[in-house]
Symmetry: C5
Subunit: 393 residues, 5 copies
């Protein structure tokens, strides 16, 4: 899993795409994958009344048996066995090759006698990684091939065991149930991105730290990668709905429509997060500019207050020969020192007045827009904060 998760064409680090054949190789050539997980094969034959786990492959695949069959493969290591099974099912060589070529984008392709659906299932919650799931729906059987044993199909397996409503009706309905489970497993992932986005937002508004810009960038990259998975996945599910796809009955189609709907909703959520994350860049740049303004104001206020005062002090530190009555008579005044201090105080007061008029110091700046910090009626859905920013007092 850890290795194949990196073979996604959109993942952040995909230093190797091990399962892609070299350019010019014949199509259908299968490239053995070094780190592939060991193959685990499960056959489940079911009718509405009965469920059996076939141990014998030949008996399990025998045609003409009633009900449906789910061939559930995890791990691509034993590729000769998988290939043999595929050729027994009559799959096209390209179709077989696609099972092993694990870096594909989601798609639905109709072959002679079956439908080949490529989907991607997410692994963990947040650092987005996914693996390829191939679902092949044929006459009376569903074949699923996934890269690792971890999946989101356990609830479906339980319903199949328990014989819940409709789940044992047909292979087509089972295929729907599997696709639906996979699509729905994106919701927690997207919600964790939503929370991460909000968290970043709050932190930027509070204080733009040094690593924030890198974090926003990574967030945008991951949402981008997710988009390039979800977009074709939506189309793959939609294609099952639209086309004259065989083995998909009208009853199942109604359920698949619901599933396509969820795909749309996921895209919608994702697009919102993406646009918000894009807005975070502007927010961050503005915050940086704000900060810079603040820094500059402090420097300017302090420097310009003291610069004239220091000049006056320097003036009366000159060593002109006071023998001449015209040379710095102030030095001889009885209250010369106070005169100088007064001059300094005056210049400082003038500067302060200037800054006050510009709104750089004192409360005047805040007074112009009526209470911008507290009363922003629309665009604020939090309860009024109990004590404002206490640290600012």
């Amino acid at each position: 899993m850890s290795s194949t998760g990196k073979t996604s064409p959109h993942g952040k680090r995909h230093r190797r795409r091990p399962s892609r054949a070299p350019a010019g190789a014949p199509p259908g050539r299968i490239v053995p994958q070094p780190g592939a997980a060991p193959t685990r094969l499960r056959l489940t034959r079911f009718t509405p009344d009965m469920l059996s786990h076939a141990v014998d492959l030949d008996a399990g695949l025998a045609k003409g048996l009633p009900g449906g069959l789910w061939i559930d493969i995890a791990g691509l290591a034993d590729h000769t066995r998988i290939e043999a099974l595929c050729s027994r099912l009559g799959l096209h060589p390209l179709s077989v090759a696609d099972i092993f070529n694990t870096g594909q984008r989601p798609k639905t392709e109709v072959y002679d006698g079956y439908v080949h659906v490529v989907l991607r299932q997410p692994h963990a919650v947040a650092p987005y990684e996914d693996e390829q799931l191939t679902l092949i729906l044929g006459e009376g059987f569903v074949l699923t091939v996934q890269e690792t044993p971890d999946d989101c199909f356990d609830p479906v397996r339980q319903r199949l065991e328990a014989g819940g409503p409709r789940i044992r009706d047909s292979a087509g309905y089972l295929a729907y149930a599997l696709i639906d489970a996979l699509i729905d497993s994106y919701y927690p992932l997207l919600e964790s991105y939503g929370e991460h986005t909000e968290d970043l937002e709050d932190r930027i508004l509070m204080a733009p730290a040094d690593g924030t810009v890198g974090e926003i960038h990574r967030l945008r990259r991951e949402l981008l990668a997710l988009r390039h998975t979800l977009w074709p996945q939506r189309e793959a599910v939609g294609a099952l709905l639209r086309h004259d796809v065989p083995f998909v009955t009208d009853a199942v189609r109604t359920y698949l429509r619901d599933c396509a709907d969820h795909s749309f909703q996921l895209m919608d959520m994702l697009e919102v997060y993406r646009e918000v994350a894009q807005g975070l860049v502007d927010l961050h740049l503005s915050s940086l500019s704000n900060r810079m303004n603040e820094v500059m104001k402090v420097l300017t206020v302090i420097a310009t207050i003291f610069i004239p005062m220091t000049f006056i002090a320097g003036l009366y530190g000159m060593n002109f020969d006071r023998a001449s009555p015209f040379n710095m008579p102030e030095l001889g005044w009885r209250y010369g020192y106070f005169f100088a201090l007064g001059l300094m105080g005056l210049s400082a007061a003038a500067m302060l007045a200037l800054f006050y008029r510009h709104g750089w110091i004192g409360g005047r700046k805040g007074a112009q827009p009526p209470a911008p910090g507290t009363a922003r009626p629309p665009g604020e859905d939090k309860a009024p904060p109990a004590g404002g920013r206490p640290g600012a007092k």
Copy 2:
């Protein structure tokens, strides 16, 4: 309401989506919602001449009665009762589940025997929150299910009671009237956003305060969320118009066309606000840069005027041994002090001249573009201000 309003997929804070079934659950499974409002059910049977509020559910739902029936449900708490009613009406399990799955995007779906429309109605004016409204139009009946008792349908109820023109004609017309009322309830919301945008604009142009950037960001988020509601809503209304939707007569279709028109207009207004809000980001950044320029100019002007003067003062504060006639003879001049003051004055004048030539001080900057503050003929639709910016005098 407060809880469900947060389950919108686009809302700002949607920490839980309580009504979504876990991934892999069978479709149609209804998840009880912890904080759902108590269920209130109203049945209204009407013909052009008569109106009756059925108390008895069975009598009210009896088929074959003349006229139309409005089943008006608010609050999802009593889900067994709602489910029973839905199965009496012959709704598809997915359709029933969608009623309880309150975080859906607007859509129109045609089922066997009825049309299922999902819409979202806004709650308050400004901090955008909405709830799901399911409207099901079947043969002779309209079923509306909303999350909370508050809604925008009171005018429709009054017209129905009063027997206004056309309102009691058919279930289809009633459905139109309800949709129209819902669509129109977005106008005040959008107008409040428009006012908020203008308010922000004015404040940024006056003085960019600290919290402004956060406010712009929130505004953009809410408009974005609104867009992801209004866009599919427009399509849902348009779908009613375009498709061979049953139970929508040509006469009603003409009215629905007007309603779809309003949806377009809402999108139009929203897109304008969104683009303006995007422009506010540029405006704010420019304002910040402007401010920074101003701060830097003040620092530069004051620092560079005093720096040479302070240097001269320091120069004549040196303690060279005046025994040598070459060491600072100025100190012994009769008018040495005035000479030094003159030097300082000269340097200050030179600096001031430099700044004046660059247009940093004095009126020259303002003189280049002809009266930029007052006479901007196009792009200004306010009456000429009586006294300009008086504080600037």
Copy 3:
């Protein structure tokens, strides 16, 4: 006019949309408009050979008369009279309501027996304001309803009086002539925006003043509002062309195609201005940064030249006890003062050399790109300026 002009959904200040019915009101309900202009009604009956202004409404509207009829209404105050006239013409209630609902976007709708076209006509040249024009083309008549008596139809009226070519041919041709006049009245408006854009451009390149950013923002808002009028207007005219619209003959259609062409050209011009205005934001930000750079350079050059010199002056202003031969022997040197002055001069020269090498002072910066101010062959269509920037000399 002044009041209704503000009811545009896109206008800058639309504090009220007086003519919109409250949400939930029955469709077709007409809301009296408080500040509506008094109604003025003109009937013109014409054949190619004859023209008469009917005074009597009943006689004028009598069916079966030869030729065409133009019912020209301005001002919506007398709504009972207008409603009566509309119902005589057999208009649909929604159509009548749309006449009074003055904030609509342009559209073309085909009703039973007539075509309803909503257009917007611009008022003044620059601060963009428009009013709604409803044009209804039926069997042998054209009804135009505008909000105020001012319009752009006087040339059409004169041609109708004078009996110019084709103008009295049919009601369809008259409708074309009116639409054409309205579309063409946008050209001067757009040209004034073009001039304003160029003017802003020149001013930003010369010297970015304080109010410029607000002006750019307003310009972009107005162009945006204009776009949301012109875009659907183009479609409304195109719809007249494409659909199987009744009462539009093939001959008239050829002329309307020309009119649709002009709509396209207007959109084209507008999009150019919009993109240029968007570019102005970048231009302005760059100019601000340029300015800031300039300010910072001046500060840096002056401060860093004087800082070491002031330090040296301070050094020799120390009061170490020169009894020790190691304490500041320079003070006792015969040419100590000149030595100090020389040190200062050296440090200043070193700084100047540093700045010169960085290209901050002197002509080196300008020398690198070959004559950037004068010889930019492409991208400059002005005649070579006679004397460059004379003020810079």
Copy 4:
């Protein structure tokens, strides 16, 4: 030419659109153009074997003659003569008006009996100006009307004289040859823009000069104007291909497909330049920020090194009464001066160490990315520069 070139709706300076009729004027009204070039008319009658330049207009236009006819008009001054000719050819009044209305966007319109194509031909290489070319293809004749005698058709004329392959086959092929020549004349124009873009790029990377931002802006404006010409031109050529356009045989259609291909390629090149020019804005802003950083660093380094030293000098310049043994005993130390100098040196060294650690001075900054100036393997296709930036040594 110089006057009409400025009437393009997209041109940079279009202070007048002299050939547009006033709003409300009847369609087809021809507005005399004050500065129009004098009319020059050439008739060329050709068959594959023969070519004659008719002097007599009537004889030249006589119907029923074998082969094709090219009526080649340049200059719109003599509009009565052109109108007479057009009416002899049976052109629609709108079509005639379009010939004189020189500010139109490219289009293809099918009239009864002929095809009306409006194209725009570029004038000079770089400051983009174009003029309108009307090409009318009818039964056996091609009419071209251009605003000025300068055009790009000389090679076609030579091939026609010389009787090259296919050129005298039919009027349709001649029309193709003319359109092809016009489309191809955009290549040098686009290439000059490409070179200008690269030139700007190099200059920005070297040193962002003051006028650069204006130049980028102008470049973007011109590319924008060019786009609004090329885009509809592509469609106009494509329309000739797609529609059931009369007088265009299948053989000619194959050639026109090649021509449409070139239009696509031009758009492609243009879009690349446009995106690159957009990137130049970012590049320029980054360069400005880089510059500012550099300026600030110099100021910071020099100021912060000298500020503590100056403070120490000031400290020992205080005049405390050394009668008290606690007042500045350092002044009386034997090596007090060296002590003070040592303090200053220490503080300077501390500052330098601080800056070195931040990577502001010394080679550490450049050392982190491995040789960013020379070894950027991808994204660099120049030969390794012989000596780097020599001036930086």
Copy 5:
């Protein structure tokens, strides 16, 4: 190769497009290319059982022979020979001209009797350069013409020699195999861009160096150029699939669908890189702003700490006549010096407290967001770094 690689319309430096005929030249005119590579021609006739390399051109091209023929031409120097061959194959003059016109965008055109496909094959890995490949698929033959002998077809040649599965089946399958090899040769190129993007990203986050902005710009330009090649290439391959293209059997079409899939995946990868590269601009600007903030903070902290201290030192350096008891009595105090030092210490402490409260110094800034540097759970897929940034210690 080196010369023609520069003739791409999108390449970075395309100072000449040698193979384009001058505007107005007759179509089909072939322009001799000065630096074209010498022509090398290989004929391979194959049936599933047999393979022969014909030496004699006439014998090789003879019609009616069994199996398929691959005419493999590299180098365009000997254009008379290539033209002769093309006319023997019955190609249209435009088609022949397109072979020599090496700057074309990818396209698929159906001529009478054959399909003309233009593709572009990449040369080296990173500084993107490509050459034109013309593939003509006719009845029983494939003609490929490339500009230089280097290509990506060696694996196909080996499979053809070795007689791998299906490769000798038909000319159509061979054409697919060639196109597939070409498409797949873009993967390493794109992956190298992916690595370059990540490398740039890391470097910007670490320390934005001076040349980075230029590198980002170049990267974006190359990705843009690549996009303008891959986009039409995808369409060209798709066109082979969609149209009723002759000589493409259904079996081959299934394989081509796989090939079109790869084209889509390449576009997907490219769009991700392009968006990431666009994000790098924001990242870089933010980093620059961050740096500037840091520089300013250092300047501000040091300057504002020392400015008041220097002022105090200057104050007690004044030379007021201490004869007056009011003139600077502090100078005479026993602990005056310590008093002054205390004042200075106080002011420094006050400044430090101010900066600490603003979070500019000390650990408070980092403390607000909880451990932003280490614990960013989502958006970080690296293993936790062993020792953080060691260089920062």
